[in-house]
């Protein structure tokens, strides 16, 4: 029985897919009588089923060595596309995390989207994401991983576009799709290019190949960069980070899943590809640089936002930047730990801020304030989320960051200050939000804002509990360092950076002595961060501008030159016909003259050689 459950973990994505497919019946209003609600409940049930399956399978997988399954998909012309599945503790664990989070997100959504008309679509897409992420976890092949990532790109488009009659949603969905798609296409180029080199797409075999491969450095760099671009888009790294911010226009319950695990899909592929990327030192440097720039830049931008959801989304980019640093320096275990702790902490942060947003009917930080007394549960959850995210012992984020800092100290010491800086700034940014939401005196929008009902509060509390229990879970899985191997200096540095960030944030934003909004002495710097380093404008005036004009010019060329030439030929023949018809005068003499002239010309040309001689 236990073996059977383990062998059939591939069913976990299938449950969700089945739910999503059945939801179609409600979505284009085929079934109108019941309203769309049954679709939501059905998807929730399927997710619970998947969660229970993962939950039972996880301890079994933990005790057993990793198993491989392969599902033949397509054999054609020497190309063997067989889907390899990797059933190990880590993949089952990932699916456990995804299904668990999605289960909570769906319960939350039932409460949050109480009166919404896009129910069945929304839940179907949540299930699609769950299925995609679970299958990405199990799938052990770059090719199939690419397929899943690309389907999820479409999923993002549709999920962000749930409320499609708002113009900001429409542009947000468009930008999310196109930005991710750019990353995907580079990834596709990498997928195409690596097969002739390595002869395989299986992650295991790619890693084996990379150990001994001798590849031309230029090619290795180009392929590596292409492979890097896919995760960059998914993880919202600079300069492909814009979409995550705009995706916040979508319904909040989907943000729970997106901020915590969907962005991590890119990091997951990145971790699997690490041996291949390591073939080129340039790629690793680029990866570390992008990660560092995003981590610092993202946090700074987050501090300058006045929208709760957007501020959180930039922190997500920043943490994914840290994951990039971790993978770039070869610390995949630290990266996985960071993803896990970040997922849970972000889950709590999004659910608690969402619970505030729902009742206060605004997500503008300048309109919020003074909610601490009315919303003690949300405030507590928020604080736990902050503690779990940053390096504050004993929660998960601390151990992940410590592990990363420890490894960085040994290999890339100059990155440790970056890490500490990001940690401190994140702490400041989170406490800033806390201060703006919960501290101070109530404002008009927060006068009537009680705690929400159980459908929203319960998932939030459960996530808080999970965040608090994460160290115990890690302990029981023997993933925490022992006291003897602990790098105590690093731990103290990390703690100090967190405490400094929290302290300054608390003084400035929780304390009421400094008047808000706070202005930096140099205004342009503040607007630079507030407007996301002017990235949208930059895109609009560069890539969008180029594509727009290229298409207009080609269209003009097509209408005027190519089609014009064709029409000119037609016109010319019509015109010459019209002109020539007047030569038919009907006079016999004229015809005879023409015939005679023609005959003479023929005779002349026939006898030309004779005349010459």
């Amino acid at each position: 029985m236990t073996q059977f459950l383990l062998q059939t973990v591939w069913l976990i994505p299938c449950y969700a897919i089945a739910g999503a497919v059945v939801s179609i019946l409600w979505s284009p209003a085929l079934i109108r009588r019941t309203g769309p609600r049954p679709a939501g409940y059905l998807n929730l049930c399927m997710t619970i089923l998947a969660f229970v399956h993962s939950l039972i399978a996880f301890p079994i997988a933990w005790q057993h060595p990793a198993q491989q399954l392969s599902v033949p998909w397509l054999q054609v012309a020497g190309l063997d596309l067989t889907l390899p599945l990797d059933i190990s503790a880590i993949t089952v664990g990932a699916s456990l995390l995804v299904t668990g989070l999605n289960m909570l997100a769906q319960v939350y959504a039932i409460g949050y989207l109480e009166m919404d008309w896009g129910w069945s679509r929304f839940f179907a897409f949540l299930s699609l994401f769950e299925a995609g992420m679970c299958s990405l976890a199990f799938c052990n092949s770059l090719f199939f991983g690419f397929m899943i990532l690309e389907i999820l790109t479409l999923g993002t488009y549709l999920l962000v576009g749930t409320w499609f009659n708002q113009s900001l949603v429409v542009t947000g969905a468009r930008d999310a799709f196109l930005t991710k798609r750019v990353g995907d296409l580079f990834l596709l180029m990498g997928v195409l290019a690596i097969y002739p080199l390595a002869g395989t797409w299986d992650f295991d075999q790619l890693a084996q190949w990379a150990e001994t491969a001798t590849v031309d450095p230029t090619i290795a760099t180009l392929v590596g960069l292409a492979l890097l671009a896919g995760p960059m888009g998914k993880c919202a790294q600079f300069p492909l980070h814009l979409w995550l911010d705009e995706a916040m226009e979508g319904p909040l319950p989907s943000t729970i899943l997106r901020n915590s695990v969907v962005v991590a899909t890119g990091a997951w592929v990145l971790i699997k590809l690490q041996p291949v990327l390591a073939l080129s030192p340039v790629v690793l440097t680029v990866m570390i640089t992008i990660g560092a720039v995003t981590a610092v830049g993202g946090t700074l931008i987050a501090i300058a936002q006045i929208d709760v959801k957007r501020a959180l989304s930039y922190s997500v980019s920043a943490y994914m930047g840290l994951v990039f640093i971790a993978v770039g320096t070869g610390q995949t275990n630290a990266a996985l730990l960071l993803i896990l702790s970040h997922a849970l902490a972000q889950g709590v942060l999004v659910t608690s801020t969402g619970s505030i947003v729902l009742n206060s009917i605004t997500q503008d930080l300048t309109q919020l304030g003074g909610l601490g007394r009315r919303r003690p549960m949300s405030a507590l959850c928020y604080l736990v989320g902050v503690a779990g995210l940053i390096g504050l012992p004993p929660l998960g984020g601390f151990w992940a960051l410590l592990k990363l800092a420890d490894g960085l100290w040994a290999t890339h010491p100059w990155l440790v200050p970056v890490l500490l800086l990001v940690n401190g700034l994140t702490a400041f940014s989170m406490v800033r939000e806390f201060g703006l939401i919960f501290a101070g005196s109530p404002k008009p929008m927060t006068e009537r804002s009680p705690e929400n009902f159980w459908l929203i509060t319960l998932p939030m509390m459960v996530l808080m509990g999970l965040t608090l229990h994460l160290p115990l879970i890690l302990q029981s899985l023997a993933l925490l360092p022992s006291w003897a191997t602990l790098n105590q200096e690093m731990a103290i540095l990390l703690l100090w950076s967190s405490l400094t960030g929290i302290g300054i944030g608390a003084v400035v934003y929780v304390g009421q002595n400094i008047s808000k909004p706070i202005q930096l002495p140099w205004k342009p710097l503040q607007t630079l961060f507030a407007y996301d380093l002017y990235t949208p404008q930059l895109y609009r005036s560069s890539i969008v501008f180029c594509v727009d004009w290229a298409s207009r010019i080609t269209d003009w060329f097509d209408r005027q030159i190519v089609d014009g030439a064709v029409n000119l030929v037609g016109l010319a023949s019509l015109f010459s016909g019209e002109a020539l018809k007047y030569s038919n005068s009907g006079q016999g003499q004229f015809y005879i003259l023409t015939i005679a002239l023609g005959l003479a010309a023929i005779a002349l040309s026939m006898s030309w050689p004779l005349i010459l001689h």
Partner: protein, 506 residues
């Protein structure tokens, strides 16, 4: 057996001329349905492992001319026949009930189906040419009688272009036979021709330009947007779904098949041409304001992948190219059908006017959902048939033409751009309540799209069904290409593993 595919619709067309008006559509549907079933039965009889012609039929006809009635089916023509059968049925089904002059309309569609099937089956060059030209007349009438505004201009343009295409092809066929001194136009006999390379190149260029008009390739394409836009939805489905494939099929059968040496010489140029077509079609599509025109230009872009697959000339890319022919047919058919539905319900095709059709109550939710599916299939999202085909083409051609392939990948990105523009403007957005009193979408309009969507989805999940039809034939076509091409591939690649991969591939 194969003749049934040609003559049954002809008999049907005659029968329709005498049937009472009320049963016409049903009768046409029955006839095309029988043809579709018959095609599927032939597919069932077909031996997938055998690369050669099967189920051949032979009847001597005009001995002195070298024209015989020779039919046969192989892995290249079978998918096209199935596509033809399916899309003909869909086109008839999706036509309006109260169409004007129904007798003529259904007869002409059946005649088109018959002639196209004949062209796919013919194994004699002259016979092919006959069918190729015969199909032209009903199409001309279908466009000029039931088309939209500017239908006469469009139909005339289509007629002239295709006539030129026919003349070039006939010239190439005649040249091939006379220069070769052959006494027959039989395809099999001409396969081993041994003309000097430069002559082959000249003849091949005639074939390329001739079929290039039909496909169409840039810059021979300007008939296409006008014609597709002017044609009514069922005719556009046939034009884009089936007729364009006739061009691609011709290029493979009579270009690659008859002039492998010359083809190998021209291959780099062909790949570049394909890339230009892909990028050009996609870029122009972005600038369009009329959704039907946009879809028409997308068709130009997507036919480029087929040529790219052909130019790369390995087993993988050719299988991909054939798969792309089917995929493109299905996707274009669903897009044209849906665009037609949107036009009849909303009354406009202008991007700037359309808005918010996804609205579940007053909009066209199911049509919008299917439009999203069609657009995404065209943009090459995995899980739908377009991805499989494009991926096989890319993976095959990357080994030979890396630069061109990567540029074509950029082309799929541009495809995503214009489909997002299309979907954002038509399906997303806010529906204006003042104008949103659309007629109800009938099941007659939904079912064709649902069938096509299901097929697109099914073949995307289970592409084996698609590729195994053509795999052995394309493999043998590659084997027929002289060794000239093979060292070139190996050189470009370098490295032992790659060569091994290539060899197992070919």
């Amino acid at each position: 057996m194969l003749s049934t595919l040609i003559w049954f619709p002809v008999l049907g067309a005659i029968a329709i001329a005498v049937l009472p008006l009320r049963q016409l559509k049903l009768a046409a549907l029955t006839i095309s349905g029988v043809v579709l079933l018959w095609t599927l039965w032939i597919a069932n009889q077909f031996d997938f492992t055998n690369p050669l012609l099967q189920l051949q039929e032979y009847l001597p006809w005009l001995e002195p001319l070298g024209l015989h009635y020779q039919l046969g089916v192989d892995g290249l023509s079978l998918p096209m026949l199935i596509l033809n059968g399916l899309l003909t049925w869909i086109a008839i089904y999706s036509g309006r009930e109260e169409i004007e002059r129904p007798r003529l309309f259904y007869s002409l569609i059946l005649l088109v189906s018959s002639a196209v099937a004949g062209a796919f089956l013919a194994q004699n060059l002259l016979l092919f040419f006959l069918f190729y030209e015969v199909e032209l007349v009903p199409f001309y009438l279908l466009i000029s009688i039931w088309g939209g505004e500017k239908r006469n201009y469009a139909a005339m343009k289509f007629l002239l272009y295709t006539a030129v295409s026919g003349a070039l092809i006939l010239a190439a066929f005649l040249g091939l036979v006379w220069l070769n001194g052959a006494d027959s136009f039989a395809y099999q006999a001409l396969m081993g021709q041994s003309l000097p390379l430069w002559l082959q190149i000249v003849l091949l260029s005639f074939v390329l330009v001739g079929f290039g008009i039909k496909i169409p390739l840039v810059p021979l394409h300007t008939w296409l947007p006008d014609t597709y836009v002017a044609a009514s939805a069922p005719v556009a489905i046939l034009l884009g779904g089936v007729l364009a494939k006739l061009g691609a099929y011709g290029i493979f059968r009579f270009g690659l098949g008859l002039f492998p040496d010359a083809w190998a010489t021209l291959a780099p140029g062909l790949a570049t041409w394909a890339t230009v077509s892909v990028l050009y079609g996609a870029t122009v599509a972005i600038a369009q304001k009329d959704i039907k025109r946009m879809v028409a230009y997308s068709s130009i872009g997507h036919m480029g992948y087929i040529l790219l697959g052909g130019a790369a000339m390995n087993a993988l890319s050719l299988v991909g190219a054939v798969a792309q022919m089917v995929a493109h047919g299905l996707i274009l058919a669903i897009l044209f059908h849906l665009v037609g539905v949107v036009e009849t319900k909303v009354g406009t095709r202008e991007l700037d006017v359309l808005n918010g059709l996804m609205n579940p109550v007053r909009g066209l939710p199911m049509v919008s959902a299917l439009l999203v599916l069609g657009g995404m299939a065209s943009a090459g999202i995995p899980g739908l048939v377009g991805f499989v085909a494009e991926f096989l083409v890319f993976q095959g051609s990357y080994a030979v033409f890396p630069l061109q392939t990567l540029l074509c990948v950029v082309g799929t990105g541009l495809t995503a751009v214009y489909f997002v523009i299309l979907l954002n403007r038509t399906c997303f957005g806010r529906l204006d309540n003042a104008i949103a009193y659309f007629p109800k979408v009938e099941w007659r309009e939904r079912i064709p799209a649902l069938i096509l969507a299901f097929t697109i989805f099914f073949l995307g999940i289970q592409p084996t069904w698609l590729v195994r039809l053509s795999e052995s034939t394309t493999r043998s076509m590659v084997a027929a290409v002289p060794s000239l091409a093979q060292p070139a591939i190996a050189q470009e690649e370098g490295g032992d593993e790659v060569m091994k991969w290539q060899m197992t591939n070919d």
